[in-house]
Structures are given as C-alpha cells and as structure tokens.
C-alpha cells in the first residue's frame, strides 16, 4: 500500500541509478522529473480530494435528511391542528377547513392492492417464462426488451391512453354490469397501474427464479418430476421470499404513482363505495389540489399527505430490499 498523503514523485530518483546511466540520460530524467513535479503540484492534494469525495457522499445523506425534515416542518400546522386523527378523519372539505386523510388512505390501498393482484397474475408467468422456460435466445431477448420499454414509457402517456382507450371500454362494461357508468374510477386506475408495475415485479421475479440452485432442480428431475412439478414444488417454494419482495417493491411504486392514476381515477374526495366508483389516492389528491391550495392549513395538510406517502413507501422499499439481500446471500 502506498502511504496516504505523500507526493510520490518528490521522493526523487534513486541516486544510485545515476552511476549506471550516462550523464545525458541523467540530465534528461532530471528534467522530466522536474516537469512532472510541477505538474502534480498544480493538481489536487490527496487529502483535499478525499474531502471532496466525502462531501459528495455526505451531501446525499444531507439531502435525504433535509427532505424528511422539510416535509415534517411544512406539515406541522396540520399535525398540530388535527393530531393523529388526521389519518382517520373521513371528511376532506377545503371550504370548511376540515381535512381528514381517510378517504385517500382507503383509495390508495384499494387501487394499489387491486393493481398488485392483477399485475401479479401476469408478472409471475413472465418471471417463470424468462427465468425457467426461456433463459436465453431470441424469444427471451424480445420479451425482455419489450418489458424494459414498457418500464420506460412516461406515466403521463399511460394516463392519456388510459383516459382515451380504457375509460370508454370500462364505461361499456359498467353499463353491461348495470352499475353507474362513470368510466373513470378505482377499477380503471388499477388496470393502468397494473400494466405499469408489471416490469418491476417481473424483473425481480426473474432474477430470484434464476437464482434457484440447479442441483435442487436436477435432483427433482432425476426423480422423474415433470417441469411443472419442479416449478411448483422446488422453484416457487425456494424463490418465494424473493418473489414476495418483488411484489412488495412494486407495491412501493404503485402507492406513489401519480399522473396515470390522477387522470383516470375521477377525483372524488369521498370514501369509495365499490371498485367502480371514482376516488382519490394520496398522490392524486396532492397533484390535483396543491396549486389551488389556499391557506396555511390546506397546504400543510397536503404536505402531510406527502409525508405519509414518503414514510410508507420508504418502509416498504427498505423491507423489500432487506428480503432480497438475505435471499441473495442464501443463494450463494
């Protein structure tokens, strides 16, 4: 290891080398050496450079703490005024100055869980498809690229397409089912959201399924098990916690998704009565009302919704990552 903080060139050329070299060569080397030292001296010193690195790393930490503190500080008026009852208050009425988050908490849970159920129905087969049936080759590359592109489409475009393609279809379905034909609502948003989160749970699911040790699979095959039986009795039980973590991480994403949901959920501030009624999620109510929020209490109530969203998604993300990390260690 080279010692910290020393300028390696200023140590100088070893003197005994001069004996072996002709004088002109020695002159040349000395010149180069001098130039080199002048060059290095202009550069950063090592300790200063290391300080910059630490500052850059620490900066990220500071940003995160500042984000949390700003959210807390900005929502203090609401926290003071409503206390913990904020989460359970069932009325959100800006005119009367009454702010309760319960309709949005319910709306968020409804939409996200329904979306999660729908997307798992598709992401699990994709994970098996890519992790077991078609591990490589053209088909696998094709599906993987399409799914990656799916993840890259901006959420406002999902919302736009949902609004103009899905809403009329859902409205027709609602007329057939004899419920109020809003078109927009929880069901529509869950469908859009489900499509949006498929890539996340699928990519994690694929990874954990391909982590399953092949000797376990081979043992089962050699006992005469069919592929289906291997998947059901060996792969899925082994990858269970990882698949769960993937679903958890996509839940974190679903909870915070804003634009697509805002455009197709119908924006109603009441507790939803069924899956076909309009509602609002935590994120969509912030998106809708933030710019028109007048008054300190109104604004800080909206920020508090953001704080709730921040804490819930952070918790879910950390939990998901911990599960995946533990699974990765076991797999090794």
């Amino acid at each position: 290891m080279i010692e910290k903080g020393t300028d390696h060139l200023s140590v100088g050329l070893p003197k005994h080398l001069g004996i072996l070299m002709d004088p002109s060569m020695e002159d040349f080397l000395a010149k180069v050496h001098k130039k080199a030292i002048a060059g290095w001296k202009l550069g950063l010193s090592e300790s200063f450079f290391r300080k910059i690195l630490f500052v850059a790393g620490g900066f990220v930490l500071v940003i995160l703490i500042a984000i949390f503190l700003s959210l807390v500080v900005a929502s203090i008026p609401a926290i003071r005024h409503f206390g913990i009852g904020f989460l359970f208050g069932t009325t959100w009425d800006p005119v009367k100055g009454e702010f309760g988050a319960f309709p949005f908490v319910i709306g968020t849970l409804f939409v996200s869980l329904l979306a999660l159920a729908i997307s798992t129905l598709f992401s699990l087969p994709i994970s098996i498809f890519l992790g077991e049936y078609f591990k490589g080759g053209a088909v696998s590359t094709f599906i993987t690229s399409v799914i990656e592109l799916l993840a890259g489409i901006p959420s406002v475009i999902y919302g736009f397409c949902g609004l103009f393609l899905l809403v009329p279809a859902v409205r027709a379905l609602e007329i057939k089912l004899n419920v109020a034909p809003y078109g927009v609502g929880i069901f529509t948003s869950s469908l859009v959201l489900a499509v949006m989160i498929i890539p996340y749970s699928a990519s994690i699911g694929r990874e954990v399924i391909s982590l399953v040790p092949s000797d376990l699979k081979e043992a089962a095959f050699s006992l005469g098990a069919t592929r289906f039986e291997v998947i059901r009795k060996v792969i899925l039980p082994y990858a269970r916690s990882g698949i769960f973590a993937g679903i958890l991480l996509s839940l974190g994403r679903a909870l915070g998704e804003t634009m697509a949901v805002t455009m197709v959920i119908g924006n109603s501030n009441f507790i939803p009565k069924g899956i076909f009624t309009p509602a609002n999620t935590l994120a969509s109510v912030i998106a809708n009302e933030f710019t028109e929020a007048t008054g300190r209490l109104y604004l800080s109530s909206l920020v508090e919704l953001g704080l709730v969203l921040f804490m819930v998604t952070t918790l879910i993300n950390i939990l998901g990552k911990v599960i995946i990390r533990r699974m990765g260690r076991e797999g090794k």
């Binding site: 129905l121 087969p125 993300n317 950390i318």
Partner: protein, 282 residues
C-alpha cells in the same frame, strides 16, 4: 394416497407451459396497443410547423409545441448540471470507501431517495425553491428533476467503477501518479462509458416526468428562455391538454405524446445499443 397417472401429469405440465406462455404474451400487448395508438393518432399531427410553432388558444386551428420542446431541454440541462457533478463524485466515494460504515449509510440513503414518489419530490422542490423565491420557475423544476436523477447517476457510477480492475489503479499509483490523478485520469476514463450510460438513462427517466413539475415548472403557453419563469415541458403539456375538454387540444396532446415517446424510447434504445458496444471489459 393415489398418485395421478403419468398421462395426467404430462397434460398438467404441457398446459401449465401453455398458460405461462399465453399470459406472458398477453402482458406485453399493452405496449403494442400504446405504441400503435400514439403513432396512429400522433403521426398525422406532427410536421415541421407543429414542432416550430407556439400553442394557440382554444378555437384557433393549428399551433405547435415548440415552447414545450425547448422547456424540456432546458429543464434537462438544469437538472444535469446539478446532479452530474454530485452524482459522479458520490459514486466515486461509494466505490472507494465501499467497506466503511459511513458509505453504507450513504448507500441506504440513495436507495431511499430512489424510492421516493415523484410527487413528493415535487413538494420538496416547491418548499425549497418556490416558497423561498416566491414564484414558480424552471429552476425549481430543474431542482426536482435533479433530485430524481441523482440516485440513478450515483448507482451507475458506483457499479461501473467497481468493475475497473484494481491492477489498473495499482499500475498508476506505482508509477508515482498521485491518488486524485489516478482516479480522475485513469479510473474515471476507463469507466466513462458506464457513467455516460447512467447519465443518459437518468435523463430518459426524468424527461417524461410530470408529477414533480406540476407545482414547480408549472407550465406556460409562451416561449420562455428565462429559468426564473414558469416553463412548459412536453409531459406537462400532454397532461394539461389531455385533461382539457377541447378535442383540438386532445389532438395536440397526441402529437406531443408521439414526440415525447420517440424521444424517451429513442434515448433508452440508444443507451442500450451504446452500452453493448462500449461495455467496460477487462
């Protein structure tokens, strides 16, 4: 217990495989639906005057999206200026001190930062920039997007630098090159392609963001080069026009979606191709 016959087991196996393949293909259908509709409805709208003209008020025919294109590029430049220096240095930090306790905290912070919903980032930029300056501005939108780019750039830098073999840096140090020079002139250039890929991907990620811009960049119908004034971007424009009740504006929104999707997916594809070519290999 009675075992199912071999015939039944084979049928179960075959039908399971069929179901898996069927569901997998069904779930990539939305991608083609979306692309198909955006292209069909958008391509007839997009022409040269659409790209170079300002939007017109309701009722007047025509109008374009030039201000939104300029605004999107402006915000990308602002956010990149913020996030690239910090991101790259933080990435170097994580790679150089990966065993330290402090680094593990930083890493956790990055993971949390990455998971923060975009609307919350919008609130933060509003509280930090808009409230303290007193008006909506492109700058605040740039800050919001910069915050979203940061974790992507840091992770990409760290992952790339980890792949650079120690022998390279040891060779440089052994030649007497100082530590900062070794990092800046040997390690970083060796991993430059990976870092650039990360930056491009982060741009692709934020170029389509709407939620953090709703109450920061805010949107405007005018051409504006001043970063201290409200700025229009493509996603904001799509949102505002799509949720408006006017069919003319819906048409404009389809055109804007077409441009946006070409830009974002093009950037993604370009990055993918480039990554394959430039991949850090040792």
């Amino acid at each position: 217990m009675k075992e199912p016959s071999i015939r039944k087991r084979i049928i179960a196996d075959k039908s399971f495989k069929a179901i898996v393949i069927l569901l997998s293909f069904v779930s990539i259908l939305p991608m083609f639906f979306i692309l198909f509709f955006i292209i069909r409805k958008g391509i007839s709208v997009v022409d040269w005057s659409f790209l170079t003209h300002l939007p017109k008020p309701v009722g007047e025919i025509g109008g374009g999206i030039s201000n939104a294109i300029i605004g999107t590029l402006m915000l990308i430049i602002i956010s990149t200026t913020f996030s690239v220096p910090v991101g790259v240095f933080a990435g170097i930090f994580l790679c150089e001190y990966r065993k330290g306790k402090f680094a593990s905290f930083v890493k956790l912070a990055i993971e949390i930062l990455q998971g923060i919903p975009s609307i919350v980032i919008g609130i933060i930029a509003y509280v930090w920039v808009v409230l303290s300056m007193g008006f909506f501005s492109g700058l605040s939108g740039g800050v919001a997007l910069g915050l979203m780019m940061l974790p992507v750039i840091i992770t990409a830098t760290e992952e790339t630098l980890k792949l650079i073999p120690d022998s390279l840096r040891e060779a440089s140090l052994a030649l007497g090159v100082s530590y900062p020079r070794t990092i800046l002139k040997v390690v970083i250039p060796a991993g430059l392609s990976g870092i650039l890929t990360g930056i491009l991907l982060s741009i692709a990620r934020v170029a389509g963001e709407t939620a953090p811009l709703l109450f920061t960049a805010f949107g405007s119908p005018f051409m504006n080069f001043n970063i201290l004034k409200p700025v229009n971007t493509l996603p904001l424009m799509i949102f505002n026009y799509a949720t408006s009740p006017y069919p003319d504006w819906h048409t404009l929104a389809w055109g804007a979606s077409f441009v946006l999707i070409i830009f974002v997916l093009g950037l993604n594809l370009f990055t993918k191709v480039v990554t394959r070519k430039w991949k850090v290999q040792f």
